[in-house]
């Protein structure tokens, strides 16, 4: 028997690994990857809660499903933007992205 909390602990670690990456990395793609981690950990939580606490229902399941779909869309757009930026300034370091500020 695996306790629900085990899953939660794993996902929490993953979540904060993502957050740390989000702070730490300076590359846009790396930041995006960190976001994927965060999303994934949340997905796990949804699935786990659904399975353990509300076994008769499907909300968590579907939420995860939709989240995967949306994250795919988000990634696609983000990567398109990143490529476009790269084309314009030959760099994707966040510290260089300050053109719109001025």
């Amino acid at each position: 028997m695996i306790h629900m909390e085990y899953y939660l602990v794993v996902s929490t670690i993953m979540f904060f690994a993502g957050i740390f990456g989000f702070f730490y990395r300076r590359n846009l793609l790396a930041i995006l990857i960190s976001i994927e981690l965060i999303l994934n950990s949340v997905d796990i939580n949804f699935a786990v809660f659904n399975r353990y606490l509300f076994p008769g229902q499907l909300e968590g399941f579907f939420f995860t499903l939709f989240a995967i779909g949306i994250s795919a869309a988000e990634t696609a757009v983000a990567i398109a933007i990143i490529i476009n930026i790269y084309r314009n300034i030959r760099n994707i370091q966040v510290s260089k992205l300050d053109k719109m500020k001025h």
């Binding site: 695996i2 909390e5 730490y24 590359n27 399975r51 579907f62 939709f66 990143i82 490529i83």
Partner: protein
């Protein structure tokens, strides 16, 4: 058996998550992410959500990671190497904040008394999923489904618009 599998999965996820965000090379980072995603898929299978696991594998591991790899190759072969290093203080602050967050979260999770939780095995068959997805009644998800399809369409168009070369 299950416990063993879970520990292996958990170890994979934790180790590779940390590696994903700490490695200096962006391509490795993507690769480690792939492993994390595999691990997540494994957890879905373990929870008896085979469909979800399959989706995870195909869309994430199959689709998104490929997208990442391509864009990494397209943008910066040198990856993070030339990235400006963060000041130590910021790194430390981020680390401390994240760790504190993690500790706090875990602490809460472990201390919280959830309602009676038990693992009820059993697959959800495709028919149920299909009906739920395309039904319009309570606990059926026609509307979000359509909304997401529109969103995807918009993203496709948007992606093309943004990424295409300007004449």
């Amino acid at each position: 058996m299950e416990i063993v599998v879970f520990y292996i999965l958990a170890a994979v996820i934790v180790v590779f998550s940390v590696l994903t965000v700490t490695t200096q090379r962006i391509l490795r980072s993507a690769t480690y992410l792939l492993f994390v995603l595999f691990g997540t898929a494994g957890i879905y299978f373990q929870l008896n959500y085979s469909f979800l696991g399959a989706v995870q594998l195909t869309i994430y591991a199959g689709g998104i990671i490929v997208l990442y790899v391509f864009s990494i190759l397209l943008t910066s072969p040198d990856g993070d190497k030339i990235a400006t290093k963060l000041p130590k203080s910021k790194l430390f602050a981020g680390l401390v904040a994240s760790l504190a967050g993690a500790v706090l979260c875990i602490f809460i999770t472990l201390n919280h008394t959830f309602p009676v939780s038990r693992f009820v095995p059993g697959e959800i068959d495709m028919k149920t999923i299909g009906f739920a997805l395309l039904g319009t009644e309570k606990y059926q998800y026609m509307l979000p489904f359509e909304a997401i399809s529109v969103l995807l369409l918009a993203c496709i168009i948007g992606g093309i618009m943004i990424a295409r070369k300007r004449g």
